[in-house]
C-alpha cells in the first residue's frame, strides 16, 4: 500500500461535499465532532470516578485492543453499507477465515503471515461469492447474507468437529504470542519507542483504516462504490460495472471480516468456531454511530473508529465502575438509541427553526 497523501490527515470521506464549506459545519462532521466530545467527557468522568481507568496495562491496553478488532469489524460492515447493502454474515466470515488460518497453522504449518494471507483470501472469496449471488439474483443482501450466515455457521462447526477434538486449533505459529502481548513500547525507531498502552494489533487497524479511507476518498473504485450505493441504475448507465462493484464490496467486507477474525484469534490465543459470534451488533454500531448511511452513498472511516471507541469506552468504564456484565448491554442499547435519536431531534429542531425564521 502506498503512503496516503499528507495534505489532509483524516481519512474520512464524505462524498457529499459541502455547499458552504466554511460557514456551516456539515452534519457528518458535526456528528463526528459530537462523538469526539462525548468520548472525551466519558473518559474524563470515568477516569475521575476510578483512577484505574487510566491504568495503561490493565485498562487502556485491552480497551484499545478491543477497539482495534471491532473497528475492523465495523469497516467490514462499512464496505457493504457503502453500496447500500448489509452483511449479516460478517461474524461468520470472520470465523471461516480464522478457521482456515488455524487449519493452515496446524495442518500445513504455515508461518504466521502466510496463514493470515491465506485466511484473508478465503474471506475475500466467500465475500465475493456472496456478492455474486446478490448481483446475479438481484435478491436483497439481507436475505443472502443471512442465509450465508447459516451456511457458514454449519460449515465452520463441521470442519472444527472434523479436525479437532476440543473444537479449537491451538497450534500457535511463531510470533503469534508476541503479537498478542506486545505494545508499541516494543516498536522502537532508534531511541524513540511507542506507548506501552497501545497494542501492536492496533497497527493492523491503522493499516485497514488507511486502506479503506484511501479507497473511498481517493480512488476511482471507491467513488464508483459510493455511486452504486447512491443510484445503481444511473451507475450502470454511466459505465460503472455495477455487478463487479457489488462483488468487490462484499469481497472487501469478507477480507476485513477475516482480518478481524485473525485479530480476535491472536487475542484469544486460539482459533475456535465461536470467533465472530459477537461481531454482528458492533459491526453496525460503529459505522452507524459514525455517520455511515445504511442506504448507501456516504461512508465515514473516522466515524467508524469513533463510534466503536464510544461503545467500548462505555463498556470498559461501566465494567470498572462495577456494573455487571449483564447490565452493560442495557446501557449500550439505550445509548445507541439515544445517540441516533439526537440526530432526528436535531433535524426536527433545525427544520422548525428554518420555518420560523422565514
Amino acid at each position: 500500500m502506498s503512503a496516503p497523501p499528507v495534505e489532509r490527515t483524516d481519512v474520512e470521506v464524505e462524498s457529499r461535499d459541502r455547499a458552504k464549506p466554511r460557514r456551516r459545519l456539515d452534519p457528518g462532521r458535526a456528528q463526528r465532532l459530537g462523538l469526539l466530545v462525548v468520548i472525551a467527557v466519558l473518559v474524563i468522568s470515568f477516569g475521575s470516578a476510578s483512577s484505574a481507568f487510566y491504568d495503561q496495562q490493565l485498562t487502556i491496553f485491552p480497551l484499545l485492543r478491543d477497539i482495534s478488532i471491532l473497528c475492523v469489524v465495523g469497516l467490514a460492515q462499512l464496505a457493504v453499507m457503502s453500496i447500500g447493502h448489509m452483511n449479516l454474515a460478517v461474524g461468520r466470515m470472520a470465523a471461516l477465515s480464522a478457521m482456515v488460518m488455524g487449519l493452515a497453522y496446524q495442518e500445513l504449518h504455515l508461518p504466521l503471515y502466510a496463514g493470515l494471507v491465506l485466511g484473508l483470501l478465503v474471506g475475500a472469496a466467500i465475500g465475493a461469492l456472496t456478492g455474486w449471488i446478490i448481483s446475479a439474483t438481484g435478491v436483497n443482501s439481507f436475505v443472502v447474507t443471512l442465509a450465508m450466515d447459516f451456511v457458514l455457521l454449519g460449515l465452520v462447526s463441521l470442519v472444527y468437529a472434523q479436525f479437532t477434538t476440543s473444537a479449537a486449533f491451538t497450534v500457535k505459529p511463531a510470533g503469534m504470542d508476541e503479537l498478542r502481548k506486545y505494545s508499541l513500547a516494543d516498536v522502537c525507531l532508534g531511541p524513540v519507542c511507542g506507548s506501552p498502552a497501545v497494542p501492536q494489533l492496533f497497527l493492523f487497524t491503522v493499516v485497514a483504516m488507511l486502506a479503506v479511507g484511501w479507497l473511498y476518498s481517493r480512488t476511482r473504485v471507491g467513488r464508483e462504490l459510493l455511486l452504486v450505493g447512491s443510484n445503481i441504475k444511473a451507475a450502470q448507465l454511466s459505465g460503472i460495472p455495477t455487478g463487479r462493484r457489488v462483488i468487490g464490496a462484499h469481497a472487501l467486507s469478507g477480507t476485513l471480516a477475516g482480518l478481524a477474525g485473525f485479530m480476535l484469534a491472536v487475542t484469544a490465543g486460539s482459533f475456535t468456531a465461536t470467533i465472530g459470534s459477537e461481531f454482528m451488533i458492533p459491526s453496525f454500531l460503529g459505522p452507524v454511530l459514525g455517520g455511515t448511511l445504511l442506504t448507501g452513498g456516504a461512508v465515514s472511516v473516522i466515524g467508524t473508529l469513533l463510534g466503536t471507541t464510544l461503545t467500548q469506552v462505555i463498556r470498559q468504564g461501566l465494567t470498572l465502575l462495577g456494573v455487571g456484565l449483564e447490565s452493560l448491554n442495557i446501557y449500550l442499547g439505550a445509548i445507541l438509541l439515544l445517540a441516533l435519536s439526537t440526530g432526528r431531534i436535531r433535524t426536527v429542531l433545525s427544520e422548525r427553526k428554518a420555518r420560523t425564521s422565514r
Binding site: 442465509a147 462447526s157 442495557i330
Partner: protein, 349 residues
C-alpha cells in the same frame, strides 16, 4: 388471461394460483420429506410420542417465524425477536419461581409485557424515524442485558405443575402447545386477510406512499405490526417455558435466524406487502424435518444450520430464475408487457 378468467367459475383462478404457489411447493416438499424419513425409520416416526415430539418442538419455530412475518409484512424487520423471547421466558419463569405468582397471572403479565415492548419498538421507529433495523438492534441489546440480569447464571424452573402439565398435554397426539401455535397462525392469517386493519398494515408494507395517499396511517401500521410481533413473541416465550424443564440466559439466543428463515422460505418479500402465513408454517415444518433427519442419522447438529442456509440461498436463486423467465416470456408477448419489477430490492429504509 382476463378473458379466460371470465369463463371459469369464480375461485378457479384462485385454486390455480394456489397450485402454482410457493405454499404448494413447500407442502409437497414437507410431505415427501416426512414420508421418506418415516419410511426410512421403519415407521417409528409415526408412533404417538414421536409425532408428539415433532409437533412440540415445532411450536416455537412457527411462533417466532410469525412474529417476524408480521413485521416483514409492514416492510420492517425485528432483530429483537430472540432477545425479547429470551427475556420474556426468564421473566415469566422468574415471576413464578421467585415471586410465587400463579401461572395464569404470570402468563398474562408476560403477554402484556411482550405487547408493550413490541409497541415500544414500533413507537421508537415511528418517532425517531430511524431505520427499524437499527432500532430493534438497540432494543435487542437492551433486552439481552435484561435477560442476563434476571437469569444470571442459573436455570430457572418455573415450578408450576399446572404449566408443565399444559406443556406436555396433548389431544390425539397433537400437543396443546402446537395447537396454540396453529391458533396464532390462523388468527394472524385471518387478521392479515380479512381484517381491515390487517389489510392496511399490508398496504403500508407494499407501498407506503400509496398507502399514505389512500388515507392510511403508516405510523399506525408500523406500531401495530411491532405490537403484534411482541405479542406473538410473548406467546412463544410462554410456550418455551411450558415445554422446557427450565429456562436460562441462553434461551432465545438462537431464535433470530430461524425467525427470518421461516417467512423467507415461506415466500415473504423483504420489501414488504407480500407474506404467506401458511408458507411460513410449512417452512418451519421443513426446517424441523431437517433437524429430524439429522437426529435420525445421528449427524452433527451443525448440518441443520448448513442445510437451512443452503435451502434459503437455493430458494432465492430459484425464485429469481423463475422471475427472470416470466419477464422474458412476457417480453415475448408485447401485448401483455408490464413493468418488470425493480430487481434491486433495497432494504426498507
Amino acid at each position: 388471461m382476463t378473458t379466460l378468467g371470465r369463463f371459469l367459475p369464480p375461485g378457479a383462478g384462485r385454486i390455480r394460483r394456489f397450485a402454482r404457489s410457493t405454499e404448494m411447493t413447500l407442502a409437497a416438499v414437507g410431505v415427501i420429506g416426512f414420508v421418506a424419513l418415516a419410511a426410512d425409520s421403519h415407521g417409528s416416526l409415526l408412533q404417538g410420542n414421536a409425532v408428539r415430539g415433532i409437533l412440540t418442538y415445532l411450536s416455537v419455530p412457527i411462533l417466532i417465524g410469525l412474529a417476524q412475518l408480521v413485521v416483514l409484512a409492514a416492510g420492517q424487520m425485528n432483530l429483537s425477536v430472540g432477545a425479547l423471547g429470551g427475556f420474556l421466558s426468564v421473566f415469566t419463569a422468574a415471576l413464578m419461581a421467585d415471586h410465587g405468582v400463579p401461572a395464569p397471572l404470570a402468563i398474562g403479565i408476560a403477554l402484556l409485557a411482550g405487547t408493550v415492548i413490541g409497541a415500544g419498538n414500533g413507537i421508537l421507529v415511528v418517532v425517531t424515524r430511524i431505520n427499524g433495523f437499527i432500532v430493534t438492534l438497540g432494543t435487542m441489546t437492551i433486552l439481552l442485558g435484561l435477560q442476563y440480569r434476571v437469569a444470571g447464571t442459573r436455570t430457572i424452573d418455573a415450578g408450576s405443575a399446572a404449566l408443565q402439565r399444559f406443556g406436555s398435554m396433548s389431544l390425539l397426539n397433537v400437543p396443546t402447545i402446537f395447537m396454540v401455535a396453529l391458533v396464532v397462525a390462523g388468527g394472524l392469517a385471518f387478521f392479515l386477510r380479512r381484517v381491515a386493519a390487517g389489510r392496511r398494515l399490508l398496504a403500508s408494507g407494499g407501498n407506503p406512499l400509496a398507502a399514505e395517499l389512500s388515507g392510511i396511517s403508516n405510523a399506525r401500521s408500523l406500531v401495530l405490526a411491532h405490537t403484534l410481533s411482541g405479542l406473538i413473541i410473548a406467546v412463544a416465550a410462554v410456550v418455551a417455558v411450558a415445554s422446557a424443564p427450565g429456562v436460562n440466559k441462553s434461551i432465545g439466543g438462537d431464535w433470530l435466524l430461524p425467525s427470518f428463515a421461516a417467512p423467507i422460505i415461506g415466500g415473504a418479500a423483504l420489501a414488504g406487502g407480500a407474506v404467506s402465513v401458511l408458507g411460513a408454517v410449512f417452512a418451519a415444518f421443513i426446517v424441523r424435518l431437517v433437524d429430524l433427519a439429522r437426529a435420525q442419522y445421528s449427524l452433527d447438529p451443525s448440518w441443520v444450520n448448513f442445510t437451512v442456509g443452503a435451502v434459503v440461498l437455493g430458494t432465492v436463486v430459484i425464485g429469481r430464475i423463475q422471475e427472470v423467465r416470466q419477464t422474458r416470456s412476457r417480453q415475448a408477448k408485447p401485448d401483455t408487457a408490464s413493468q418488470s419489477t425493480n430487481s434491486t430490492v433495497r432494504s426498507p429504509a
